[in-house]
Each structure stands twice: as structure tokens, then as C-alpha cells.
């Protein structure tokens, strides 16, 4: 119940931030969503056993499920590196990280042309060179 509530709160916050125009807020949303996803993994393992997954100190019947923990551990680090990448994205290119105003500027079709004017030589066996 409590874990589910936490997950709900984090998800709601994340989705709200996704609708914002600043890239930084979207990134914050991602961080929140990452927390929510990790906690869902945890919930999947069950929260009734909560003692640490160390063989020496705990009796196995009370031990928390170690499997989701291992998943989450790497997920956190990967999410961290993705967060850094997105942060770099947010500071490169334009002066601000606002996104909505720039939509008109983007023309994907034009972008695909940017790898050069069509190579003339292929039609004439290199005659154009």
C-alpha cells in the first residue's frame, strides 16, 4: 500500500513534468520516473521480508528478495549516465533549454538532405568529377 502510493506519487510528478517545456524539467521527470520504476521492481519482489540479503547475518526465511535489488542497482547507475547525457543535451545547441518554441524550426525532411547534394557522378560513371 505505502510503496504503491509512493510509486503513484512519483509517476504523477514525472508525467506532469513531462508536459513542461523546459528540458531540465523533463529530465527531472525522468529522474522521478526512474525512482518509480525501481520501486516497482522492488514491489515485484515483495515487501514482506525486509532483512538484508547477506547470508551470514540473516536467516534465509526473512531475507529480502535479492533478485530485484541486483536489477535496481545497475538500473540506477544506467539511469544516472542517461541523466548526464540528457543534461548535456539540454545545454548544447540553443541559449535556453526551452523546447516548445523551437518546434517550427525543425524540418526533418530538410535534415535528411544535409548529407550533401546528390552525388552527380553515379549517373554518368564518374563523368561529373
Amino acid at each position: 500500500m505505502t510503496l504503491a502510493l509512493t510509486i503513484g506519487l512519483l509517476t504523477a510528478g514525472a508525467v506532469y513534468l513531462f508536459t513542461k517545456r523546459e528540458m531540465l524539467r523533463v529530465i527531472l521527470g525522468f529522474v522521478l520516473l526512474g525512482h518509480a520504476a525501481n520501486l516497482i521492481l522492488f514491489a515485484a519482489g515483495g515487501t514482506d521480508r525486509r532483512s538484508e540479503a547477506f547470508y551470514t547475518s540473516t536467516d534465509p526465511t526473512a531475507m529480502a528478495d535479492p533478485l530485484p535489488q541486483a536489477f535496481i542497482l545497475t538500473a540506477i547507475v544506467i539511469a544516472f549516465s542517461i541523466t548526464i547525457f540528457m543534461l548535456v543535451l539540454s545545454v548544447t545547441g540553443e541559449d535556453s533549454d526551452e523546447t516548445a518554441e523551437k518546434v517550427e524550426k525543425l524540418d526533418v525532411a530538410a535534415e535528411s538532405e544535409s548529407d550533401g547534394t546528390p552525388h552527380k557522378s553515379f549517373r554518368t560513371n564518374g563523368e561529373g568529377k
Binding site: 502510493l5 508525467v15 520501486l39 515485484a44 515487501t47 542497482l73 544506467i78
Partner: protein
């Protein structure tokens, strides 16, 4: 023995990068040695055998017993020698030719190419053959593409054409394996499938498609001249010895079972002769010496294909002989053009007319090579052309066909003679333009300086090949043994070939005389011929179709992506949120009864955590400035950390805590490049709010309904009960990470490393925003960063070493107690972050470690541990060693890999984003660490 030859070339591949790193372009003076050694080994082994050596090393025993079946016959020996000897020569030559940049990519791709070609011609297993075939495709792509941005499109087109052929070969291989039930070439060749006309038809179509694309036969011819953007050594190797000869080898390999088939004959002969004629005509219209040679290659390969199509013993023998002759004179010519290009700065015959060509040795090479290409006695090219005419005349075909084919061959030979003469004249600077055309460069821009001879080490190897073509022409009988055994392989029955310069007054000799006389007239009248040919370009090209297809594919991609395009990520992100909501609605109506929830799921302390998270989330959402948002996000992160602690996940909590700290540090590093506060104050947007609340409810309901309703899963039970005894480690989470799912962790390390590389690439291609100016009142205590950071600097000097030591302790004990690679690397990263925070200016870069190297080391170390596991039977099988009473686990080494990779990414992020110099380093050279990045010198490759 065959395996040793392959391994020798593999040594060249492995050594190519370090050698070129330390010796620059001179690495070529070392790299040719293993290739020659491999060639000597093969020759010795073959001489000691009875004409065939077969070796087998298991690879995939469970699937048709696919393995490294290697087989050396006369045929594969001939092609191996071409690959190895010419490859060695080209490597030696490149030591003088190359510019001083991009050395590593050249030597690495070249030696990989040689290795792939060697395996291809030695393969006696269809799967090995196919893999090697594709490897040559990729290696040639990289060799062409490395010439710079102008080479991108030709490289991609070459790739598209040759990959199509590769797919055709895959289809052929699949048909053969399925029908014959074996992957061994010799067994497949003896199988019954060659009696089934349907299968044979399909095999001919697919094999011919593969060979035509590889050997640039009509209508796939144009990639070959297109790929001329590559540098001369690459052209020499691709066009004389390797790439294009792969197609010829494939045809010869299957010739014993397919020769005589009408479809095979029709396809090969017609396409071969069309290509031969087209190439010869096209070569007469080129001004670029190298391009001329490229069309000439096309034309000569057309001869070979047509000969293989005829399939008679005489024709196949002629094909083998002409393969040798062509490889010798063509490599000599390509490399000589490289010398001219290198010394004169141009290879355009019009530009060379105004220069004095004071390079006697190179010009001699050009003359001998051209004479051999033209078929003038006593060159080897003359002998092979005689055999070629005889084969066409003696073709076992109905009616006038042999005469028609011979006529076409003679016509091509005349064209060959003419363009050979044109090539030689052009290279000597004696190109004569058509009378009424003014196309020689005049005026001030033309370079008028004489062209001087290059050093011996440069023209030496081309001269060796040119001498060979002359000497072998005079004493051709020394080749008889090689040609006989190679022809034996191609024909399928023992052959004895006699070679001599003088054949007597045969019809072929009469044809040769005719070709020489008419050819000489054509050379004399070249300006007229050109005036006739140049305004009439042929526009027959399969490559036009390929280019169209390429453009269309890109356009289609643009259309599809335009559906979700836009820089506003909300448009993408709301879609999954809506899907989440619709899943919840579907669940509401379809899920009837749930198992009862477990009793002990919630504790009262949990509610405290819920409250903190709720406050944190609301504050993050409502924050007005960027700093505030980051700070409160950190609060959410810490409460999630507490959640993990409450749930008994110590390692996860530690990881989360450290990541939270580092996230804030990185955000702060970048924050001063963004505006202070968020955009204009908006009211709570209704759509956003509604979808957020709905998604939150959906996530809550889903978690509540679908978790906590069953006992622990079976794998988890196994791990909690037996994990420790199986692995010898008490920290179950850590042993899962580094032992049970080590391969998965390795994959994640790679993702992590790629993120670091992607950040570097992003910063190298796009400048970050300028730093926002900050007004600090001069009387403020924080106006002087030097004094302001005194305390923190003193503190960090003490703390950083301690923290790093602690991190290593955490790493070492991770197997049994909280810690492990991830946690300890994050701690070390945090310690270094402290140094950065304490630095008085951005420019004080405290850590100068090669972070990219760290990332690479980590990933490589992780992968290497996996290979150690192979000794125990499987990749990543865990190993233990007892050393001085301590037990050392292989997974600890793996954990070191994790440590390095994670630390590399963190240091990279701090350096690249935190400091201006770090940024500059990224922009100059993504991989620092190379000491040889001095001032870039004049690069030859940019000379057109």
C-alpha cells in the same frame, strides 16, 4: 599449418594498432613481415603435401558441425599468395605513402582485410566462407570511408551493393546447407543437390549475384570506380589482389560443378564481355589516372568472368593465368599512380602535361605495367592474353558464337591497348588533348614545378611487381606448376599446363598481332578517338538505382519520423503515459479476482517516507527556479534512498545515495549555462495535471493489484538458500551482479561506457551554451573564489585520499559485505567531485586521467574475465584461486572492470562539462591519451 598462417596474419591485425601508435606510418615496415611469413608457410606446406591439405577445428559442433574447416589446394594457394604477397607489398609501400594522420585506421583495416581474404580463400566451410566474405565487405567499407567526408556516399553505396551480394551468398549457403546437410565445401560439392535442376538454378542465380556485386560485373559495375575516393594503396589492394578477386574465387570454387550449365554460361559470358567492353571504353574517357585504372580493372575482370563462364579447361587455365598477370601489373600501376600523385600532387593527366616528369624509375614501372596490360610481348600479360584468345576460339559453343565472343574479346583488347597507351602517355605528361579542345590547365594557378623521383623505399615495391611481370613473361614456365595446380582446383580434374612465350603461328597469335597494330593506330589517333567518345557518356548503371533506393529509404525514414517529430519531448512522452492509463482502465474491467495480499507488506514507518516523497515531488513540480528544482529533487532522491534502506537493500541504498549526490554535482556544473528561473509563470496546466493524476493513479493501482500477492519466486528462493554456498560470497546482491548475471552486467557496463562516449561526441559536435554572467557584489565574501574555497580545499586534500581508500576497501569486500564495483566507483567519483567543487576556478582541472581509457579498460577487463571463464567450460564461468591462504575470485576482477568503467564515466562527465579545457580537449580530439597529437602536418590524402 594452415591455422598458423591464419594466426600469423591475425598477429599483424593485433599489432597494427600499437605499432601505428608508436611508429606512425612506418608501422608498414613491420606489418608486412607476418604476411610474408604466412605466405612462406603455406608454400612450404603445399610443397610437402600431395596437392591438398585439410584441417579442422571445432566451432559450433551442435549446428551441422560448423567448424574451421580449412583447405589448401592449388587454387586457394594461388589466391592466398596474391592476398598475402601483394598485401605485404602494399603495407610496405604505405609506410611512405600515408599522411601522418589516421594511420591506425588504415593499418587496422588493411590487415583485417588481408585476414578476412585469407580465411575466405582457405575456408572449407560454407559458414566460415560467408563470415569471411562479409568481413571483407565491412573492411573495404571502412577503408573507403576513412578517406573523409567526400568518401561517405561512395562508401555507403559500395556497402549497399556488396551487402546485397553478401545476402545472396547467404541464401546460396543456406540452400546448400539445407540440401546437402553439411557445411563442408568439399562434401557439398560432391552432394546430390547439383543434379536437381531447380536447386541448381537458384544456386547459380544467388552465387552469380554475389560474385557480380563483389567483382563489379555488369550491371553492378559502378561501385568500383565509385570507390576510387580511397587512397592509392587501398585501390591497389582492393582492385588488384583482394576484394574483386573474391568474386572470381567464388566462381572458380563452384566452377567444377556448374561449368557447362547453360544458365551459368549465359550469365557469366554475356555479363563478363559486356563489362569488359564497357570498362575498356569508359577507361578511354577518364583523365584521372587512377579512375582509368579502375575502369580497366572492371574490364579485365569481365574477361575473367567470361572465361569462367565458358568453363572449358583451356578457359579456366587462361582465367587463372590472367588472374596472376592482372594482379601483378595492376598493383604495380596503381601503386605507381600513388607515387606520381604523392610527388606531383595530382594524378590528372591534363594537369601533368605542364610538368616535367623527372622520375625515371616510376615511369619505367608505368611503361612495363602498361605494356603488360596492353598484351605486348614479352610481358606476362601477352601470354595470358594469348591463352585468353585461344580459350575463346576453342569454346565449345554452337554456330558462330565462338567467333562472336572472340570478336568481342578482340575489340576489348584493342580498347585495352588504346587505354594502356593513353595511361602511359598521360603518366609521362604527354597527354594530347583533342585538337579543338583547350582542357589543359594554363594560367597562374597551374603548378609548373618539375616532379622529382620518390625514394627507393617508395617505388621499390611497384618496381618489384613490374619486374615480375617482365621476368615471368620471359620465363613463364616457372609459373607452370602454380597454374597447373590452381587450374586443377578450378576444373576438378588434374591438369598439366605448359607455358611458353612463343606459341608458334597460331590463330591467337594472329589476333594478338592484329590487336597490337590496330591498337597502335588507336593510340596514335587518340585525340580523335577521345573527341568521339567523351561527349557520349554511357548512363547504364546499377548504382543509379542503388543511389535512388538509398535516397528513398532516407526519405521514408523522414516521413515516418515526422509523425512524432518536434523538439518538444512532451509529444513523445505523453504517449506512454496515456498507454499506461489505458492499461489501467483495461485492467479495471478485465481482472476479476486477485489472490489475497500478503499480510506483512506495510509498516507504520513507511508512511513517513510516503509523506517525505509527496512533499518532495510537489516541491519539484512547483519549483520556480532551476536551482530550487534540483535541490528538492535531491530530497526526493534521499527519501527513495531511505525507502531502499527500509526494504533491506543496503547496496542499492548506498548506490542511490551516491548517485543522488553526483547527479546534483553534475546538474550544478551545467546549471550556469541555463537561465536562472523557468519560463513565464504558467498556471497549473489542466491537461498536464489531469494526465499526471491519472497516470499516478494507474501506477498506484497497478502496483497495488499486481504485486505482493505471491511468495518469493523460485529463482529468488534458490539464491537465498544456495547462493552463498555456490559462489562463496555472502553478499547475495553482489554475487548476482558479478556471477549469476555477469554477462548482463557487462552489457550494462557497455551501455554506461557508450553514454560517456556519446557525451563526448555531443560536446564535440555542438558547442554548449555560454556561461550565464553572475553579478556578485565586490564586497561579498564569495566574490573571491580563492579565499572562498580555502576551507573546502584544505578539507578535500585530506578527505579525497581517504575516500578513495575507502572506496577500494568497499570494492574488495563487496563479495561478502556491502560494497562492490558500482558503489565503490561512485564513492571514488564523489571524492573526485569534491576536488572539483573545491577548485577556485573552472580551469583548475584536478584530475588528468584518461577517462575514455578508463571506460575502455573497464569494459575490456570485464569481457576478458568472461574469456578466462572459458577455461572452466563457459563464458563467465566463475573461477577461484587460492593465493597465500586468501581466496581470489574471478568475479573480483570483473568488479574491478565495473569500477573502472563507472569511474571513467564520472570523471569524463566532470572533466568534459566542468572545465573549459576539458571541453576543448573534447572538441579537438575525443580520445585524449595519444602523445602523438602534435600539429597536424600537410596531409597527402586531402590532395585531390
Amino acid at each position: 599449418m594452415l591455422l598458423w598462417a591464419v594466426l600469423l596474419v591475425l598477429i599483424a591485425v593485433v599489432l597494427s594498432a600499437p605499432l601505428s601508435h608508436y611508429f606512425g606510418r612506418k608501422a608498414g615496415w613491420f606489418l608486412w613481415i607476418p604476411l610474408i611469413a604466412a605466405a612462406v608457410l603455406l608454400v612450404q606446406a603445399f610443397a610437402a603435401s600431395n596437392g591438398e591439405i585439410v584441417e579442422y577445428y571445432p566451432w559450433i559442433p551442435d549446428f551441422f558441425n560448423v567448424g574451421f574447416h580449412l583447405r589448401l589446394t592449388g587454387l586457394s594457394l594461388l589466391f592466398s599468395l596474391l592476398v598475402l604477397v601483394i598485401g605485404a607489398g602494399v603495407l610496405f609501400y604505405s609506410a611512405k605513402y600515408l599522411a601522418r594522420t589516421k594511420i591506425i585506421s588504415f593499418y587496422l583495416s588493411m590487415s583485417t582485410f588481408a585476414l578476412a581474404m585469407l580465411i575466405l580463400v582457405l575456408a572449407n566451410d560454407l559458414m566460415v566462407l560467408y563470415v569471411a566474405w562479409e568481413a571483407t565487405t565491412l573492411a573495404s567499407f571502412f577503408l573507403i570511408a576513412r578517406s573523409g567526408s567526400h568518401a561517405r556516399k561512395p562508401a555507403v553505396r559500395t556497402l549497399l551493393v556488396t551487402v546485397t551480394g553478401g545476402l545472396a551468398l547467404l541464401a546460396a549457403v543456406a540452400i546448400m546447407i539445407a540440401s546437402a546437410g553439411s557445411t563442408v565445401v568439399t562434401e557439398v560439392l560432391l552432394a546430390d543437390l547439383w543434379k536437381d535442376p531447380t536447386i541448381v538454378t537458384w544456386l547459380i542465380i544467388t552465387l552469380v549475384l554475389a560474385a557480380f556485386t563483389k567483382s563489379a560485373q555488369f550491371p553492378f559495375q559502378s561501385w568500383l570506380p565509385d570507390s576510387m575516393v580511397a587512397i592509392s594503396p587501398v585501390s591497389a589492394y582492393l582492385h588488384a589482389a583482394a576484394m574483386v578477386k573474391a568474386g572470381i574465387y567464388l566462381l572458380l570454387l563452384f566452377s567444377p560443378v556448374l561449368a557447362g550449365n547453360t544458365l551459368w554460361l549465359t550469365l557469366l559470358v554475356s555479363s563478363g564481355l559486356i563489362t569488359a567492353l564497357l570498362g575498356a571504353v569508359a577507361a578511354l574517357r577518364r583523365y584521372d589516372l587512377k579512375e582509368l585504372l579502375a575502369y580497366s580493372t572492371m574490364s579485365q575482370l569481365g574477361y575473367l568472368v567470361a572465361l569462367i563462364g565458358i568453363g572449358s579447361p583451356a578457359a579456366l587455365t587462361a582465367a587463372v593465368l590472367h588472374t596472376i598477370a592482372h594482379a601483378l601489373f595492376k598493383s604495380a600501376l596503381f601503386l605507381a599512380v600513388g607515387v606520381i600523385d604523392h610527388e606531383a600532387g595530382t594524378r590528372d593527366m591534363r594537369m601533368l602535361t605542364v610538368r616535367k616528369m623527372a622520375m625515371p624509375a616510376t615511369i619505367t614501372v608505368v611503361l612495363i605495367g602498361s605494356a603488360s596490360m596492353a598484351g605486348i610481348p614479352p610481358m606476362l600479360g601477352f601470354i595470358s592474353k594469348e591463352h585468353l584468345f585461344e580459350a575463346f576460339l576453342g569454346a565449345d559453343l554452337p554456330g558462330l558464337l565462338p567467333w562472336v565472343l572472340t570478336g568481342l574479346a578482340v575489340l576489348t583488347a584493342i580498347g585495352t591497348f588504346a587505354y594502356s597507351g593513353r595511361f602511359a602517355l598521360g603518366a609521362m605528361g604527354h597527354y594530347r588533348s583533342p585538337l579543338n579542345w583547350i582542357n589543359t590547365p594554363r594560367g597562374t594557378t597551374a603548378n609548373l614545378k618539375p616532379v622529382h623521383e620518390a625514394p627507393l623505399s617508395f617505388w621499390g615495391y611497384p618496381a618489384v611487381n613490374a619486374s615480375l611481370t617482365l621476368i615471368l613473361g620471359i620465363v613463364p614456365f616457372v609459373l607452370a606448376g602454380t597454374v597447373s595446380s590452381a587450374a586443377t582446383g578450378a576444373i576438378g580434374s588434374p591438369q598439366t599446363v605448359e607455358l611458353s612465350l612463343w606459341h608458334g603461328f597460331t590463330p591467337a597469335f594472329a589476333l594478338s598481332i592484329a590487336v597490337m597494330v590496330i591498337g597502335a593506330v588507336a593510340v596514335w589517333q587518340l585525340p580523335r578517338l577521345e573527341a568521339f567518345l567523351v561527349p557520349r557518356p554511357l548512363s547504364l548503371s546499377g548504382l543509379g538505382v542503388v543511389e535512388d533506393l538509398r535516397q528513398r529509404t532516407i526519405q521514408l525514414g523522414a516521413i515516418v519520423s515526422s509523425w512524432t517529430s518536434g523538439l518538444n519531448p512532451g509529444r513523445h512522452l505523453v504517449v506512454p503515459s496515456l498507454l499506461l492509463i489505458s492499461i489501467a482502465i483495461t485492467g479495471w474491467f478485465t481482472v476479476d479476482e486477485l489472490p489475497s495480499q500478503q499480510a506483512d507488506l506495510t509498516r507504520w514507518t513507511d508512511w513517513l517516507l510516503v509523506i517525505i516523497v509527496a512533499v518532495g515531488v510537489i516541491a519539484t513540480v512547483r519549483a520556480k527556479t532551476r536551482v530550487a528544482a534540483i535541490v528538492v529533487l535531491g530530497a526526493v532522491g534521499f527519501s527513495v534512498t531511505l525507502w531502499f534502506l527500509a526494504l533491506g537493500a543496503v547496496d542499492v541504498a548506498l548506490t542511490q545515495l551516491l548517485v543522488e549526490i553526483l547527479t546534483v554535482v553534475v546538474m550544478v556544473l551545467l546549471l550556469h549555462r541555463l537561465p536562472k528561473s523557468f519560463g513565464k509563470q504558467e498556471k497549473l496546466s489542466k491537461v498536464g495535471l489531469i494526465s499526471a493524476v491519472a497516470a499516478g493513479i494507474a501506477a498506484f493501482a497497478g502496483t497495488w493489484a499486481l504485486t505482493g500477492r505471491r511468495d518469493m519466486s523460485d529463482p529468488a528462493k534458490y539464491l537465498t538458500e544456495h547462493g552463498a554456498e555456490v559462489t562463496g560470497g555472502n553478499n547475495l546482491v553482489n554475487v548476482i551482479l558479478v556471477e549469476f548475471r555477469a554477462l548482463d552486467t557487462l552489457g550494462e557496463l557497455t551501455v554506461l561506457g557508450m553514454a560517456g562516449v556519446a557525451i563526448a561526441a555531443l560536446l564535440a559536435s555542438r558547442k554548449p551554451n555560454p556561461i550565464r554572467p553572475v553579478n556578485v557584489i565586490s564586497t561579498s565574501p564569495i566574490s573571491d573564489p580563492q579565499t572562498n574555497t580555502t576551507f573546502l580545499r584544505a578539507f578535500s586534500k585530506v578527505m579525497t585520499p581517504i575516500l578513495v581508500i575507502i572506496s577500494i576497501v568497499l570494492l574488495l569486500r563487496g563479495h561478502n559485505e556491502p560494497g562492490g564495483g558500482f558503489v565503490s566507483a561512485l564513492l571514488a567519483g564523489a571524492a573526485f567531485a569534491l576536488l572539483y567543487l573545491a577548485a577556485p576556478t573552472n580551469e583548475t582541472r584536478s584530475i588528468r586521467w584518461p577517462y575514455m581509457g578508463l571506460i575502455g579498460t573497464g569494459v575490456v577487463l570485464g569481457a576478458a574475465v568472461g574469456f578466462i571463464g572459458l577455461f572452466e567450460g563457459s563464458y563467465f564461468a566463475p573461477l577461484t584461486w587460492d593465493i597465500f591462504g586468501y581466496t581470489l575470485y574471478s568475479s573480483l576482477i570483473f568488479d574491478f572492470g565495473v569500477y573502472f568503467a563507472v569511474l571513467g564515466v564520472i570523471l569524463g562527465a566532470l572533466n568534459m562539462m566542468g572545465t573549459k579545457r576539458g571541453l576543448d580537449v573534447v572538441m579537438e580530439q575525443p580520445s585524449i591519451s595519444s602523445p602523438s597529437t602534435k600539429q597536424p602536418e600537410k596531409t597527402q590524402e586531402t590532395v585531390k
